[in-house]
């Protein structure tokens, strides 16, 4: 076997000479090796998510109950439809990318331009969808109460979760949001929740139809346990605060670590999509001004294509581990 040594007399030394170890060009090979290392990074994150999930396997939020929104369908219970749509958008932008690569092999500048454009549009729609998903998750949909030991309790009626606003009677507020206008001008506090703990507890007592749902999953039905009214009152006696929506510290859907991992992993993936869009735009303009036409090949399109497909590949796994299993 012959050793692969960069030979300065042949080709450009910066590109590894004219040698092509394993039949791949320098740039393409390095893109692949970057993808390997990035794949290991994402595996690390998802494996950490797996560790945490198995650690709290009996209290982990059920994804169908968390992601139920669909655009222009207010109040509809649409688990997973939206994220399935996002998956299709990303797969489709992968197809247009591979068509762009294909057109590049045939030196068809017009078609490369067209398909690159579609790919960029697909990526932008995906990132926008991701932002919308985050918005819904951050704002929350029902509201919950956190107990003194950190557990989250939610409210149900006839076995279905209901929002705090559906049954809680609010009284005029004594607490005022601490904004820059009414306190120290250089700081502001968190917004007050719509209801106080006392209002929630009083309304729970006044509404015999309302039940309390705890985080624990019943192994027999694989659903969150709804406790009896008497037990519910005992839980509510431990109330610490009203929680609306999700952030890095607390999460109305249950375990705060679910929110932490969701924000971190989908955020990191979304950042990859964003970088991919930026790279695609750069290549898109290079295609338009004819850089690759003059170079004689469209390998650059192939290289960003690899990255773009990798982003799609990661999403396939994120979709499985956050929404399906």
């Amino acid at each position: 076997m012959e050793a692969n040594i960069a030979d300065k007399t042949k080709g450009n030394a910066w590109d590894g000479g004219s040698e092509r170890p394993m039949g791949a060009s320098y740039g393409k090979m390095m893109m692949w090796f970057f993808i390997v290392s990035d794949a290991l990074t994402f595996s690390g994150f998802l494996a950490a998510y797996g560790l945490t999930r198995f650690k709290f396997i009996d209290v982990w939020p059920i994804a169908d109950e968390v992601f139920t929104h669909f655009p222009f369908m207010h109040g509809a219970h649409a688990p997973m439809y939206y994220v399935a749509l996002m998956t299709f958008i990303l797969i489709f932008s992968s197809v247009t990318m591979v068509l762009a690569v294909d057109a590049g092999h045939n030196m068809n500048k017009k078609k490369v331009t067209f398909y690159m454009f579609l790919t960029i549009i697909g990526g932008v729609i995906f990132v926008g969808s991701q932002a919308w998903e985050w918005k819904n998750f951050i704002n929350g949909s029902y509201g919950a109460v956190q107990l003194k030991d950190g557990k989250i309790v939610q409210f149900t009626e006839n076995g279905h979760q209901i929002a705090l606003a559906d049954f809680v009677q609010a009284h005029p507020k004594e607490a005022v949001d601490h904004t820059r206008n009414n306190g120290l001008w250089f700081e502001e506090g968190d917004a007050n929740p719509s209801f106080t703990v006392e209002e929630v507890v009083a309304s729970f007592k006044a509404n015999p139809n309302v039940n309390l749902r705890i985080e624990k999953i019943d192994p027999a039905t694989k659903k969150k346990i709804i406790v009896s009214r008497e037990e519910g009152l005992k839980f509510l006696a431990q109330s610490a605060r009203v929680v609306e929506g999700a952030n890095l510290e607390v999460n109305e859907y249950g375990s705060s670590q679910f929110a932490d991992f969701f924000f971190f992993i989908t955020g990191f993936h979304g950042f990859h999509v964003f970088s991919g869009i930026v790279l695609n735009i750069i290549i898109f303009f290079n295609v338009i001004i004819g850089t690759y036409e003059r170079r004689g090949h469209y390998e650059m399109v192939e290289k960003v294509g690899l990255y773009w497909h990798f982003v799609d590949l990661v999403w396939v796994f994120v979709f499985t581990f956050f929404y399906l299993v």
Partner: protein, 115 residues
Amino acid sequence: MGNDAAAHKALIWKVFGILSVITIVEVGLGIVKPEVLFMNNFVGTSLLNWIFLILTLVKAYYIVWYFMHLGDEKKSFKYSIVLPLIILIPYLAALLIIEGGYVYETLAPYINWNY
């Protein structure tokens, strides 16, 4: 050459079809959650979850092999990409998930659900 290009295009659309069908099946199963598959435990999780995992790996194969054209590369190159991943990722995942299960068994009895 022209014929080759047409065949390649057909292959791209075929792979797109396969990926779409798999995604539809996954979403359908995820919404319906058939009792036979969901209400059981097979090696640590439900059969349904194993199906999701396998379908995901099938999708990953099609993306890497046909969209990223790894199938067209030299054998040595294919293995230098794929082998590290298929050795290291299952290894890490298995260790961490086993550890997670152990921590759960150890700590869960100490969590109070009666007030």
